[in-house]
Symmetry: C2
Subunit: 499 residues, 2 copies
């Protein structure tokens, strides 16, 4: 119940009064600033079991409105204890992402303006700022001018649009009009055994099906084998398939390996196949001159996705798709009902023509803030620093008698595995060693100071440590390493005694 | 260049310092509060031409970082003049949406926490809060317990997932595995001539193609003709098509007409066809007891989408999909790579199993804030009020000698048309009258006080006035009406003199 008589008139209708918005807003801002200052004190992973949070939430919405103060109190009392702190400097799991200060402020203003920039007319600034920011990003990662960029929410969605454009290019069928049901074609898409699962999800959605996805083996460094790809395509053509798209990766999810895009691009060109590059994570590495090589061959791709919300300090969601065939994207997706026609349709860019989503927030505001606030050199310094730390950790692993590094470390993600007395036995493949590594990950994560993830490489369980959060400092990396060593020593002792 | 020596150490690496975050954050908050207080002073539509904004933006990102103060200054100097003010109380175009105060604060905290709740483990609170909030929403709009809900970004994406689940249910083919290329089936999806364009976009993406979409005529009130649907399905079966999905609408985009869902549901059941209901806009009307009828038959649907970011004061993006076949959604979309397996997979909900997007923000926070802050009764009061105003405008149109209302007004959107001396001639169909109405819309919009849109109904151009913004007050509706009358009087005079 509202008990502020002076607000009664406003509260019956209308929005939150400005005074309350200022007051609650300051609380939220201060809370966030304190949170970031004290983020070290939180356990990275929350100590809750499934159902713990929902049990504290009423099963019905309140009939009468509640004070914002009470609601915010519940935010800290109920929600916070169940939050996995992606902001924690010890978050070294999956890919470490950062919602940086300027990015958060961009989100705040974006939420306030709340435009839907589906058409140029419905927010000229949003459309034109996005085009500018996409050009900045294109230059930052070193793609040529022939690539035109736009944003989607996630890499999964960017990639789905790229593959849909590729599908539109297949000769002899008009997919947009006829669909695939009667195409008489069996479309084939190529990935490696390290490719992100979202590509297979796209294949499901696009009606290609998992059978239409052919997986190419990767080499000992987890890079797609280009000769195997060339063979597979020739095989498939003989068998009556229509190869139409290859997805190569710059920075795979498991090991951040970099596919030989240059070679793959040549194979694609030979057969007129669309090459899409998933550089969601790795593309950002190319902001460093010393890592320009990761983009080698990408200039020959048809499309490329990279995610500022992964390694460019941008709060979710912001995925950038660059495409050399803007016309095909539009051909695949443009459908303009009468009520969305405008006087500017011939002269202005209407983003709704390029995708499934009609709604479009002023997503570029946060990235504009970030690129200006940090500057190109500030972005480079920050990315270079974590890569340096990752190399140091990799060297420590290489020098440790019980640890084996399982993959190269081109960026800032390290995959390794504990193998006790590795030099004396070859038990590396055993399920016992897998279990031991699983236990090690759990033990480290249980400390609340570090959060590591896992993957499976050549059948073996590997520990995965991914650096990238802007708030991670040298001391956190050292703490992570020391925590790992401590937990390992105690586990090893137990293991040796048991075995 | 940073010239604050005390910040140099921090600014070389790391995030924006907390003090600067607080300071810039307060600026942004105060700016927003002032903006909302003075929103009346802005022209709804910006006075810019294509290219005006981008011309003011440099073509390269800055090498060195810039002060946040400068960046925010450019936000007001460059970006603001090109913003279409969706927050303006005179924004009565498309559907009027609102980013309300509590919703904006929810977005701020969401951006700060920046979790990716793809898995329960990666943010238990986000997953469990979303489940709770979806239950609240389900109850609010009166759907039975058999519906399970989750959020996506937009209705287009929610609907795409629903149709993908429907496709997965088609007997005799395993779409997930085999795709559609060799299915031997020609899938057919049914919409009306008033259905939102996103359904056709879904059909393109899903490989069904526009040829696989059959459009059913609508009656004089723009409601899908159920008997025509029944006929079409029988026809199609005879012709070898496989009817698999019907999309009905509660609140179409042009006129907000409500399809006879109850009758359509019976037809769907008879043939084992998936019924998806697009209640993106209209679903929210059902929060009012007097509008419960709009949901009649929806309890028999297989899925339904409604958008809190349309009429529930929620900043974009938040679309809610309710589905009676949670298992099918999962069967269509679940793909779990090794690195995303967790100990809780058997007992907890991992949202990544239910869609293409792996990334998931703590989207439900803003809706939780909104439903608590306004309360059910506060939401009802606000929605009821704009519907009341729309009825008043409809009555004024009906009583005006020069205006003709073209569609019923079940919610808060009015479609009408100016027809000079309507009683004396039947020139209603002429292109001249279309042009006149187009001129009238332009004249009204040019005042900057009101923004109306248009649509085309039975070949005739109609003016479309959509109320719904929480900041719209009675005086704004009156002003809109008066502006319309004034502009009409002057146009009419011109027209009569010319003609």
């Amino acid at each position: 119940m509202k008990d502020k008589p002076e607000l009664n008139g406003i509260m019956e209708f209308g929005d939150m009064p400005a005074s309350e918005f200022r007051e609650s807003g300051r609380w939220a801002l201060d809370w966030l600033a304190d949170y970031f200052e004290n983020i070290d004190d939180f356990p990275v992973l929350p100590r809750v079991e499934p159902g713990d949070i929902s049990r504290m939430l009423p099963s019905d919405p309140p009939r009468e409105g509640e004070e914002m103060g009470e609601i915010l109190e519940d935010f800290t009392r109920i929600i916070l204890p169940g939050v996995t702190h992606w902001n924690h400097p010890g978050f070294m799991s999956y890919f470490s992402i950062t919602g940086s200060g300027p990015g958060i402020l961009g989100e705040l203003l974006c939420a306030g303006l709340n435009v839907n920039a589906m058409l140029w007319k419905t927010c000229p600034s949003s459309t034109e700022l996005e085009q500018t920011v996409m050009e900045w990003l294109r230059k930052l990662i070193g793609l040529p001018e022939s690539f035109w960029g736009l944003s989607y929410d996630t890499a999964s969605v960017s990639t789905m649009h790229a593959i849909a454009a590729a599908r539109e290019m297949v000769p002899g069928i008009d997919v947009r009009r006829q669909g695939l049901c009667n195409s008489g074609k069996r479309l084939r898409l190529y990935i490696s055994d390290q490719t992100h699962s979202s590509i297979e999800k796209s294949a499901i959605i696009l009606g290609i099906g998992l059978d239409g996805v052919r997986t190419i083996s990767s080499d000992e460094d987890f890079r797609m084998e280009a000769p195997a790809l060339a063979e597979a395509i020739k095989d498939d053509i003989r068998e009556g398939w229509t190869p139409f798209c290859v997805v190569a990766t710059v920075g795979t999810t498991s090991t951040t390996s970099v596919d030989p895009v240059d070679d793959i691009a040549d194979i694609c060109r030979e057969h007129g196949i669309w090459l899409h590059v998933d550089a969601a994570y790795g593309g950002m590495g190319a902001v460093l001159p010393e890592l320009k090589w990761v983009m080698k061959g990408c200039e020959k791709a048809d499309s490329l996705v990279t995610n500022p919300h992964k390694w460019l300090f941008t709060p979710q969601e912001f995925s950038a798709l660059f495409c050399r065939h803007r016309d095909l994207l539009k051909r695949a997706f443009s459908l303009v009902p009468e009520y969305l026609k405008t006087d500017q349709d011939q002269v202005a860019l209407n983003y709704m023509d390029y995708g499934i989503q009609l709604g479009r927030r002023m997503r570029s505001l946060k990235l504009w803030f970030i690129m200006r606030y940090f500057g190109t050199s500030g972005i480079q310094r920050r990315i270079r620093r974590v890569i340096g730390w990752a190399q140091e950790i990799a060297a420590k692993i290489d020098n440790h008698p019980d640890f084996v590094r399982i993959a190269p470390v081109p960026f800032s993600t390290i995959c390794f595995r504990a193998v006790p007395e590795k030099s004396e036995n070859d038990g590396d493949n055993s399920a016992t060693v897998d279990t031991l590594n699983q236990k090690l990950i759990h033990a480290v994560n249980r400390t609340g100071r570090v959060y590591l993830s896992h993957t499976r490489l050549n059948g073996k369980l590997a520990i995965r440590m991914a650096l990238g959060n802007i708030r991670t400092e040298k001391r956190h990396v050292e703490e992570a390493w020391n925590t790992l060593l401590e937990e390992w020593e105690s586990l090893k002792e137990e293991f040796m005694e048991a075995g």
